[in-house]
């Protein structure tokens, strides 16, 4: 396990946002974190990303206990996070965004030619089909932007990639595109934490599934131990689903 939590918890004042959650991410595997709105998914990954510090339990990186003091600290340990509101500048071109903050240098200058070439090559290596690296990021589709952000994290040496609901705002086709890049990042040996509330997005790419409900864990399952149907019903709650089915029948 590159990254692991044991009985981790976090409260905001009197709100217990997260209690006793244990999970792990291994290299070349995808751990999906599923849960309804307010289940604590974002809180959990913010602890992993160094945005929040946990109040209880332990966080381990490469088996050693740590406290991540800042997002920079997490990044330095190879933990990269792609948030829903991506850190990209809409009016700037794809290649300028790709290297923003880590521009390659040639003497005093920004090595524009290398940047353009490498950005193009990296995106292609991830199978991302960008028309033109000179186009402004704002003109990319939501899925394409997610993909560029993923490729950037991979290029800059991330070992763990955390994605907070990368598919939630996307249509079926675009979501499929992003899922494919998640698989590709996994194949390149990264550990991926994929947050979603859609079991149909999680099941095909996931190796392990952590289910959260109202701040607590409903368990962490390996793919072999759980079916898509079981995952879906756990997400919604069996009783609630049956009730819903009854309700819909009557109409």
């Amino acid at each position: 396990m590159i990254l692991e939590t044991r009985g981790i918890g976090k409260s905001f004042g009197s709100v217990l946002a997260l209690r006793e959650v244990s999970m792990g991410v291994a290299a070349g595997q995808v751990t999906c974190v599923l849960g309804d709105n307010g289940a604590g998914k974002s809180t959990l990954i913010k602890i992993l990303a160094g945005v929040h510090q946990h109040d209880s339990g332990t966080l381990l990186v490469d088996g050693a206990e740590v406290r991540l003091s800042s997002p920079r600290d997490a990044l330095d340990r190879g933990i990269a996070t792609v948030y829903q509101d991506l850190a990209m500048i809409p009016l700037m071109s794809v290649w300028r965004n790709f290297f923003l903050g880590s521009e390659p240098r040639k003497g005093l200058a920004f090595d524009v030619r290398t940047a353009r070439r490498v950005a193009g090559d990296e995106l292609r290596a991830m199978g991302i089909d960008i028309r033109d690296v000179d186009q402004p990021v704002g003109t990319l589709s939501g899925g394409e932007r997610q993909s560029v952000a993923i490729a950037r994290a991979v290029y800059f040496g991330a070992r763990v990639l955390i994605l907070d609901e990368p598919t939630s705002a996307l249509g079926v086709k675009q979501a499929g595109v992003v899922l494919r890049y998640i698989a590709r990042a996994r194949d390149r040996g990264l550990g991926v934490v994929f947050i979603t509330h859609n079991p149909h997005h999680a099941y095909p790419v996931g190796d392990r599934f952590l289910l959260l409900n109202r701040g607590t864990s409903l368990g962490e399952y390996a793919k072999a131990d759980i079916t898509r149907e079981k995952l879906t019903s756990l997400m919604a709650g069996d009783a609630e689903l049956e009730e819903l089915a009854h309700e819909l029948e009557r109409e």
């Binding site: 990209m88 200058a109 402004p136 704002g138 003109t139 939501g142």
Partner: protein, 344 residues
């Protein structure tokens, strides 16, 4: 995906649209139209002497417009830049005439003061996160007061003069306010400074890491910070660059006229912004060009002198100014719409 599909989609973006999103395009078209208009009606306007004549105001305005353009791309304004040209000129003349400093030394002192003002503007804006419009409006009013107050206290009048007699004047004048002969026509050396400043600014914007940071802090400061761009330092450096440009223009003017009025530069700050906007800068930051701002300044120079060549009332210049600004902002809005258009 195959290469053919990619090409097909590229073609749909179209060469025209790609050209249209160049920030300078509006300014280039505007400059051609304005030049054609005046050149067809006035033989003087299109003569080498005429060109030298309208390139001069374009140069001094252009130096400032380019610096302001960088600052605006970085997402900030500086309303104190115009008055600062007065402040630096006043310091230069006062120190050289009343305190017997060598002109070069006096210029060094005024440069240090200018850098201080730029640093202060930058520090206040980045620390307090107040809009730079308000912060530099404050600096603008303070400098305006100091310029008049100190000049009156020292001289009893509202101008300082007599720079010609100061030590080092001739050499400094040759460098900053001289003329050069090209094909029998004398051009102001300020034009060279302007070209130099434009070339340097363009290089920084397009070919340096700092250039990438300038676009980024203007485009989205939180996003820039999140990937490790030193946003505050970038902005402070931009304010200081503007101040250095004001010092350069202030020194050029003082050395050219050998005297400085205490109220000089007031009202110029908006002209700089207008030239930058005509050159393709967005008021919201993150987009624009140094060359565009330089061309915006050329449009001004041409209109300023062209109206005189045609024997029109100078009041028409204001009308022209307003019309250009409106057209430019409309064109820029279209550009932004296109560039920010998000497809889902």
């Amino acid at each position: 995906m195959t290469a053919t599909t990619a090409d097909e989609r590229l073609a749909r973006v179209g060469l025209l649209r790609r050209l249209l999103i160049r920030p300078e395009l509006g300014a280039v078209v505007g400059a051609v139209v304005v030049f054609t208009f005046f050149a067809t009606q006035s033989a003087v306007f299109r003569s080498p002497e005429g060109i030298a004549n309208w390139l001069d105001p374009a140069a001094t305005l252009g130096i400032m417009a380019v610096a302001i353009a960088l600052l605006m791309i970085g997402g900030e304004f500086d309303l104190s830049a115009g008055v600062l040209t007065g402040t630096t000129g006043l310091i230069l003349v006062t120190l050289a005439t009343r305190y017997g400093l060598n002109v070069w030394l006096a210029m060094l002192v005024s440069l240090v003061v200018a850098l201080g003002v730029g640093l202060l503007n930058g520090l206040i804006v980045t620390r307090t996160r107040l809009p730079s419009f308000i912060v530099t409006l404050g600096t603008f009013l303070m400098l305006q007061g100091v310029n008049l107050g100190v000049t009156k206290a020292l001289t009893g009048t509202v101008q300082v003069s007599g720079l010609r007699r100061a030590e080092g004047f001739e050499a400094a004048r040759t460098v900053f306010a001289g003329t050069i002969q090209i094909g029998g026509t004398s051009f102001r050396v300020a034009i060279l400074w302007w070209l130099l400043v434009t070339a340097l600014a363009t290089w920084v914007l397009m070919r340096s890491r700092v250039g990438n940071w300038i676009f980024a802090v203007g485009g989205s400061e939180p996003a820039a910070r999140a990937v490790g761009v030193p946003a505050a330092r970038t902005k402070i450096a931009l304010f200081m660059t503007t101040a250095v440009a004001a010092w350069l223009v202030g020194s050029i003017m003082a050395l050219r006229y050998t005297s400085v009025q205490a109220n000089i530069g007031i009202g110029q700050e908006f002209i700089y912004i207008i030239a930058a906007v005509i050159g393709g800068c967005l008021l919201t930051g993150g987009y624009g060009s140094a060359i565009g701002a330089a061309i915006g300044a050329v449009i001004f120079g041409m209109a300023d002198k062209g109206i005189v060549f045609l024997g029109w009332d100078a009041d028409w210049f204001k009308f022209f100014l307003g019309a250009m600004l409106l057209l430019a902002t409309l064109a820029n809005r279209l550009v932004r719409r296109y560039a920010e258009e998000v497809k889902h």
